[in-house]
């Protein structure tokens, strides 16, 4: 028996919310806008729960597919359907997206209460949920791409929510364009899939691959690398991560929802979704791992020197995404998804708490001006504390389990595994360090600014904080084994089998020690000897400046890519080619016509006698021509010389 789950309603409800609020929102009262805005994700969440319940009690078998009867694109051999594909992977993602999404919607009611464009905000948020659920549910690559681009759009709109701020508008644009670079790779990947498989349907691709068990590497590597470029763009991996820190220009709930919990993990989801391709392309997989590891440590080092509370969290997000990529790269997809889920909880919590801090500080985001907020905003402090301990990886909080799973998977993944593990470990240490730095700088010591009057946030903001804090604590208790087992139909079983029985325990110990070490360093530097960081920075000016300026990556991109492109376009293409060469040719043609006109005009001297001379000359030429032509062609053909044989017809 097949029950209809109506999963098509999951995206459509937020879409309805978007349309209602987007079109009518400006005329509706705020409470109605909030109701519509909240109802849509809530109902979606209920539907997802319903689907989860029905599938876990085996009322409905997974994978479960719903396809719109008419194809979306059907042209030649290209066919793409509106088909929704529900399997454990997408179900888990849906739970996170709608669940966390709903919480952040609630939070937003309080956070955005005094903003203009309240309805616009909620409509965009709903739009995001629509595209995100489409992305997650997509049954073929093209529909996934729809969601992929759509969440990018929502992100663009929400980053630029305060469009009067030039930095916000620029950040939105940057996010979109950098994502477009990634999408370029993604598109090429799609084309390659289409050209090589003749279908875009995930199930069919997987089927083809099953049939051809010997097919490894080659074009599959190319496909996977292209997909990786796309994933790196969306998930802010090296070298395309640059948009994410800037994206913090958006409202903080947006940062929490889109740029921490859900959208940015779409790359990870995509790799997991297409794992059957990556599994056949070991080189691509290795590159995924390397990119992930490099991003993780790279972003973590930058986070050490940031002073903007949201930027620290942004780099932390990049770093954590690196972890997930690392996991994917060692084919530990379920570990990646596991971390994705826990990360969604604690990073959303971090952002929301940071938002609460910012709210309390009246919009101030610079940590150097904070301090001692522990007493002023206790709920925020405690939830934030939970989040910090979670991300640092202390047991038994959620990230402990997920990070552990990743590090373990990396360690056992083969030849380069130990190295990857070491990088992961170091990142864990750094993570702990910068998170506790943030914690100390924000909540401990004395308030370092005079004109702030911190106050606790309203209930609608506190409630999500508490729920997320609970999730951050308990989220990992399910354990990687059962999680992997649940996901196995989607991404296959965890491949690594340890040969050494206590390896996992030892590795765990290392990880916890690293977290502890990070905490201790932070404690020393930012609580006990607060003058030390400045001394250290003075002692190592080059290193500090490098980190504070994020390795100058933005500047390098600007100097190497953007500026040259603009200069090339403006000066070479615009001036030299378009105006100079092409315009010059047209100008020359027109000029030569005009010049010959001017010369021919001289012919018209106005003098009668010269006219007559021309006439005479022309007459002479015609006479000459006639005789010449006649001698040559007319009579000459008959062998007759007209001058001599005057009486040739004398009969």
């Amino acid at each position: 028996m097949i029950l209809s789950l109506h999963i098509w309603l999951i995206p459509l409800l937020p879409l309805a919310g978007f349309l209602l609020n987007g079109i009518l929102g400006s005329r509706l009262p705020r409470w109605l806008v909030s109701t519509i805005g909240l109802l849509a994700p809530f109902l979606s969440f209920v539907l997802v729960l319903n689907a989860y319940a029905l599938t876990s009690y085996s009322a409905v078998a997974l994978p479960y597919v719903e396809t719109f009867p008419h194809p979306w694109i059907a042209i030649g051999g290209l066919r793409a359907d509106f088909s929704f594909f529900l399997d454990p992977l997408s179900l888990v993602m849906l739970l996170v997206v709608t669940g966390v999404g709903f919480l952040i919607h609630i939070y937003s009611v309080g956070y955005m209460a005094h903003e203009e464009g309240y309805a616009r905000y909620f409509s965009f948020l709903n739009l995001f949920l629509f595209f995100m659920t489409v992305l997650v549910l997509a049954g073929n690559v093209l529909l996934l791409f729809v969601g992929w681009e759509g969440v990018g759009l929502a992100s663009y709109l929400l980053i630029g929510f305060w469009f009067q701020k030039p930095s916000a508008a620029a950040a939105g644009k940057k996010a979109f364009i950098v994502n477009r670079i990634g999408d370029f790779g993604f598109l090429i990947g799609i084309f390659l899939i289409l050209a090589n498989f003749g279908t875009l349907n995930f199930a069919q691709i997987a089927q083809v691959l099953t049939l051809k068990a010997a097919w490894h590497g080659g074009v599959l590597t190319a496909i996977c690398l292209c997909l990786l470029v796309g994933a790196a763009g969306k998930s802010a991996q090296l070298p395309l991560y640059v948009w994410l820190p800037d994206a913090m220009e958006g409202p903080t709930p947006v940062s929490a929802l889109i740029h921490a919990a859900t959208m940015v993990t779409a790359g990870v989801y995509m790799i997991a979704r297409t794992h059957f391709l990556f599994d056949r392309a070991p080189i691509a997989l290795a590159i995924v791992a390397i990119v992930g590891a490099a991003t993780a440590i790279f972003a973590a080092t930058i986070a050490l020197a940031q002073t903007d509370i949201k930027r620290v969290l942004a780099y932390s997000t990049i770093s954590q995404l690196g972890y997930m990529f690392l996991a994917c790269g060692v084919a530990a997809y379920s570990a990646a998804i596991f971390h994705l889920v826990t990360h969604a909880f604690f990073k959303a919590l971090l952002f929301l708490a940071a938002g609460s801090v910012i709210h309390a500080m009246g919009g101030e985001q610079d940590m150097r001006k904070m301090g001692g907020l522990r007493k002023k905003i206790p709920v925020t402090f405690w939830t934030m504390t939970i989040a910090v301990f979670t991300i640092a990886g202390f047991p038994p909080l959620a990230a402990f389990f997920s990070k552990d799973a990743i590090l373990y998977a990396a360690f056992v993944s083969g030849s380069g595994g130990v190295f990857l593990w070491l990088v992961g470990l170091l990142t864990a240490l750094l993570t702990s360090l910068y998170m506790f730095r943030l914690w100390y700088m924000t909540f401990f010591g004395e308030l370092r600014t005079a004109d702030a009057h911190p106050h606790e946030s309203p209930r609608s903001m506190r409630a999500p904080l508490i729920i997320l804090a609970l999730l951050s604590i308990c989220g990992g208790w399910i354990g990687i084994e059962s999680f992997s087992a649940y996901l196995a139909p989607s991404v296959g079983l965890h491949p690594a089998v340890s040969s050494f029985p206590h390896l996992e325990l030892i590795l765990t110990a290392f990880a916890v020690l690293a977290a502890l070490e990070g905490w201790l360093i932070a404690d020393k530097y930012y609580r006990r000897k607060t003058e030390r960081p400045a001394q250290l920075a003075a002692a190592l000016p080059a290193g500090y400046t490098l980190l504070a300026n994020k390795y100058y990556v933005d500047e390098i991109y600007d100097a190497v890519l953007v500026k040259p492109l603009f200069n090339f376009s403006r000066y070479f293409l615009g001036w030299v080619v378009d105006t100079g060469i092409l315009g010059g040719i047209a100008w020359l043609l027109a000029g030569s016509a005009n010049l010959s006109g001017a010369i021919l005009q001289r012919w018209q001297s106005g003098n009668l006698r010269s006219y007559a001379a021309w006439l005479t000359a022309a007459a002479a030429v015609i006479l000459l021509f006639v005789f010449h032509a006649s001698i040559g062609s007319y009579l000459g053909a008959r062998g007759i010389d007209v001058q001599l044989n005057l009486h040739w017809m004398g009969h």
Binding site: A74, F191, Q204
Partner: protein
């Protein structure tokens, strides 16, 4: 309704003309010329809708065909007809007419009679190009379409309209001289101007091949300038900069691209095949070149001009990929480009009416003052840069994927780079116009958001962009019958062998046999 089938095309051609006469005769009082023009264009649009309503989708060949002898010697006929290729383009032209009238509603104050008369004559000429199946008739409409355009650019040019109009006219008129010679030569050899007959004749091999290539080249040259194809785009930026909005939105692309498909590729497939590599290269250059230059423009009309160069080059790429799938994509993209460009032009024109400048730097922070404008503009922008679920994506995707799989991977990849740049220049346009703090100009003028008339025309366009993005089969079914392989056997363009077969199979279900076939095809491809 069947009774009107034989005369529908004639009606479509005559109604705008009659409207033009009516406008010319009616007094220039109140908004009378505007209303007559609007009603005429709406009526024409309704008439064009008759075509898809009664078009038999599966049927190949021309429908609604009329063929009446016109001039005995040379044998020119009034021969018009519609197939899947031209069907929706006609509707598009019909749709853009009321948009043009609305766009001109407040922009044109002086000599409205002249403006609207010529505008409607222009409509007739454009319809004529799309429906004519007699080469001479086609040429007639082709040339006729230049005149109202040139005059109106000169009349309503912003700064130096005369120069731009002259440039536009000469750029397009001079290449049509070789075109006419080629047409005459074809007639001298075949004694017919009939499209279908000529198609047989060019394919039958009776005409000398070298002369045919010259003919094809003449055709191509004329069309390439009109599209325009890099490096023949010299007229485009000035024309966009000077032309009234209603005309700028139709000046580039449609006529030339349609003509390429119908009369270059359609008449001279072998020659087109020989020229294809060159055109693919030019198209790719055009895509990137236009996009790069659009990035650095300071005036939004010029920006739109280079953007158009980029987008139209993409369609050229699709046409000269010489795959049926690419052609469907090309026609679809053409439709989408018409709709999206129409909306964007209308909006930019509305801005220009309100703020009297097209310099981007003068704007800024409009979003708060003109929420409706910014909403629709952003949607149109997104459609333009190919956001999925909006109209631009379908055509782009079909073109890219067919080019990638069947023509040239390098070309597809290079062309896809244009997508990145497209997002860059369009979004920075949005940013510079609408976001950021209010500029001095914006604060100094009262804010008037879109009027009801503008909204009435823009809303359907937005809906259309969405529907075109969501249900392309509504259009593609008819288009696909139009770009079918030519009926004559040796006129068939042989596509990349493997890929064509791959695409012919509706979808590769993974049965062992099909998998084996796929394998062998891939082997063959290598």
């Amino acid at each position: 309704m069947k009774a009107i089938d034989p005369i529908i095309l004639t009606l479509i051609l005559l109604v705008p003309l009659a409207g033009a006469v009516l406008v010319a005769l009616a007094p220039d009082r109140a908004k009378l010329p505007n209303w007559i023009a609007l009603l005429t264009s709406l009526l024409t649009f309704v008439l064009t809708l008759h075509l898809p309503a009664h078009f038999i989708a599966g049927q190949r060949g021309f429908q609604f065909e009329v063929n009446i002898p016109w001039i005995e010697s040379p044998a020119i006929c009034y021969h018009v007809g519609v197939d899947g290729l031209s069907l929706w383009l006609i509707v598009l032209v019909g749709l853009l007419a009321p948009i043009g009238v609305v766009a001109s509603w407040n922009a044109i104050h002086t000599r409205r009679k002249v403006f609207y008369s010529l505008f409607l004559v222009q409509q007739t000429a454009m319809f004529g190009v799309f429906v004519a199946l007699d080469l001479m008739l086609y040429y007639g409409f082709w040339e006729l379409s230049l005149v109202p355009m040139a005059i109106l650019i000169a009349m309503y040019g912003r700064k130096d309209g005369t120069k731009a109009a002259l440039k536009f006219f000469l750029f397009t008129f001079i290449p049509s001289a070789p075109l006419l010679v080629a047409i005459l030569w074809l007639y001298a050899r075949t004694h017919t101007f009939n499209f279908s007959e000529l198609q047989y004749q060019t394919a039958s091999g009776v005409l000398p091949a070298s002369a045919l290539s010259w003919c094809a080249l003449a055709f191509l040259f004329a069309f390439a300038v009109k599209v325009p194809v890099f490096p023949l785009h010299g007229w485009l930026a000035d024309t966009y900069n000077e032309a009234p909005v209603a005309l700028a939105m139709v000046v580039a692309g449609k006529l030339g691209l349609y003509s390429m498909l119908r009369f270059h590729v359609g008449l001279f497939p072998a020659q087109a095949r020989a020229m294809a590599p060159l055109l693919i290269v030019l198209a790719v250059i055009g895509i990137l070149y236009g996009a790069c230059l659009a990035l650095v423009q300071r005036d939004y009309w010029r920006l739109m001009a280079f953007a158009a160069l980029s987008h139209l080059s993409l369609i050229v790429l699709a046409i000269y990929g010489l795959t049926f799938m690419g052609w469907s994509g090309a026609v679809y993209q053409l439709l989408s480009h018409g709709v999206v460009d129409g909306a964007i032009f209308l909006l930019l024109g509305a801005l220009e009416i309100r703020y009297a400048t097209s310099t981007i730097a003068s704007y800024g922070g409009l979003a708060a003052k003109l929420p409706r404008t910014v909403t629709i503009f952003v949607i149109a922008t997104l459609a333009m840069i190919g956001l999925p679920m909006l109209s631009g994506f379908i055509g782009e995707f079909v073109i890219f994927s067919s080019t990638f799989a069947l023509v040239s991977r390098a070309a597809a990849i290079a062309a896809a780079l244009g997508v990145i740049l497209g997002a860059a220049y369009m979004l920075s346009l949005v940013q510079r116009l609408f976001y950021g703090p209010e500029s001095a100009l914006v604060s100094s003028k009262p804010a008037h958001d879109l009027r009801i008339g503008e909204l009435a025309i823009l809303t359907p366009l937005v809906v259309l962009m969405l529907v075109m993005g969501l249900a392309p089969s509504l259009w593609l079914n008819a288009i696909q019958t139009g770009v079918h392989p030519p009926l004559i056997k040796n006129n068939v363009i042989v596509s990349g062998a493997c890929a064509a077969a791959t695409y012919e199979a509706p979808s590769l279900v993974a049965t062992p046999e099909l998998a084996a076939k796929c394998e062998s095809l891939q082997e063959a491809q290598r």
